[in-house]
Subunit: 339 residues, 2 copies
């Protein structure tokens, strides 16, 4: 179907003088069909350009071979969304390899995520859902579990429920980042958190505290900021910290926007980043390479994350009884430009 009238099983069957059943079985190497018949059928199917009709198959088998990823866009600024590109790439590549299609369902922040989910489920035509941007005790998790809809989450929700997820090791990332700054001589390190994502922030906070305590340094909650950091908000926040009597000399940034705000603030104070002030940024796509500023970045391969999400979801669809994938992906620190 879809575009033009493509050959179907019946056409191939009559062409070969076989039944539809035999052709169907032959194409999937059914043991009931004689090997030479299988060869004949495959040759004919190939010649005719036969490809199974997805809808016929889906109707019969209750399987769509389509996965749907729900991707909320920040809209305010696509720079914050750039990590979604390698994510999409990883997801579609992995899906293609397994014979699935990836449907993308982009949403705006104004829309209710729950609402969207219902719409999507009703629209049907998908074997499973990839949800992102998890929040603490995310209501979508019980919602989907109750309805027995296969799904996988990018990010943990902190709920005790048993569900599939792939997450980035935020605790490890924050730990290593803080440790690195301390090793460079920063005795007071600022930590930038995002307000919207509790789990993410909690994990980073744990890593930060662990590294600070391990170094025998005191924890000063003044140095931890958690808000919805735009570039301006980030600039204001770091400016205020730099005005403290005992200002921080290192910063663990939340994301690219946080970095840009911090750079702006340090420039204004006349601090040289990489000498007077050290920054570790979370960067999924090496944008910060282009800033020509000495800093370190903790990067995570989002293509791998995307692939992993798709694989976990497909596993859940094909083997519902298998244990859920719960995969935490490590990042790695890279020096973007040294002093």
């Amino acid at each position: 179907m879809a575009f033009n009238s493509r050959p179907n099983l019946r056409q191939i069957a009559t062409e070969l003088g076989l039944s539809v059943t035999t052709v169907s079985r032959a194409l999937k190497d059914g043991p009931e069909v004689r090997p030479d018949t299988i060869q004949r059928v495959k040759a004919a199917a190939n010649a005719a350009g036969y490809v199974p009709n997805l809808h016929g198959r889906a109707l019969r088998m209750g399987l769509t071979r389509t996965l749907t990823a729900i991707l909320p866009m920040e809209t305010r600024d696509y720079l914050s969304d750039i990590a979604k590109l390698p994510l999409i790439e990883g997801m579609t590549l992995a899906a293609r390899e397994r014979g699935f299609n990836l449907s993308v369902f982009s949403t705006t922040p104004e829309e209710d995520p729950q609402e969207n989910l219902s719409t999507l489920i009703q629209t049907g035509g998908s074997d499973g859902i990839i949800i992102t941007r998890m929040v603490s005790e995310d209501p979508r998790i019980p919602f989907l579990l109750e309805r027995k809809i296969p799904f996988i989450a990018f990010g943990r929700s902190g709920s005790a429920l048993d569900y599939s997820f792939v997450d980035v090791d935020n605790e490890g990332i924050a730990f290593e980042a803080t440790q690195m700054l301390i090793a460079r001589g920063c005795r007071r390190v600022a930590l930038q958190l995002l307000s919207r994502d509790d789990q993410y922030s909690a994990a980073r906070m744990r890593g930060y505290i662990k590294a600070t305590e391990q170094a025998g340094l005191p924890i000063d909650l003044q140095l931890v900021g958690q808000e919805d950091f735009t570039m301006e908000a980030s600039e204001g926040w770091i400016s205020r910290l730099l005005d403290l009597p005992d200002p921080p000399t290192g910063l663990v940034c939340a994301n690219e926007l946080g970095l840009l705000g911090a750079l702006s603030a340090t420039r204004r104070k006349g601090l040289a980043v990489g000498r007077d002030f050290h920054i570790v940024v979370r960067d999924s796509t090496h944008i910060c390479r282009y800033l020509s500023v000495p800093l370190a970045a903790h990067t995570v391969d989002m293509v791998v994350v995307g692939r992993s999400l798709v694989e976990g979801l497909i596993q859940q669809i094909t083997e519902p009884e298998a244990p859920r994938m719960q995969h935490v992906i490590e990042g790695k620190i890279e020096i973007i430009a040294s002093l």
Copy 2:
């Protein structure tokens, strides 16, 4: 289908003591059904949470209500791909409004586009295709036209064939950009073109020449560079131009990477951008806002482009005889940060 067993027409029909046919017709306000029956059916369908099964319908009607967008990723650098995010957003939103799903087919540059197209067509399950990154005399156009596969292209191919496309007014953009630089006093303006896309480059070249000639200035082809500009390549190219005895004082950039290279080169030469040297950049997502450099950007609303592509494609699918959409979208110049 899809996930769980949802109510179907038959269930609702037996529940109401009606036939499947009547229920089906009632749900689409068929004139053959009594108004109060329609009410009853709709109420029951609503209560049961009935939603038509896409595959049953697709099988019967030969329509998938799915569109597929083929998106080649640069991989080397997602920064060059960031415009795809608003594009995706526009496409999915418009598709959703019209009851279509958007399937994304991400490809890597190593893959053969033609090959990909065949795979995709064979996979089926799509009513139409959105192709991007058109090249001169793009072979995909006759390929798809021959097979009568509904498609729309983002970008023109320069071929004389009659097909649907949405394109950005590159000639107008280059014209306005050049004109603006000349108005700011630049008597020699450099133009940066990309090697991969002939149509794009040719259009920009036309706009550049038109503006230069209109101002009565000579055309110097030394100032026009066409290559695969990475940030480094761009920096090298503009550095060489600045070493000329009569260097340019203005630049029309190809994209974000070109801008970053140019900024790096001017910084090294000690030129103040916005005073000694003027830049107009093509920017689809306002990334350049974050550079805090005085420059002008020619922006195109990629959400609009995405919506337009989807609308053109759906039109072609639903009304095959209607004229093809051939839509050129204007950009607009914005001063990002003035001196």
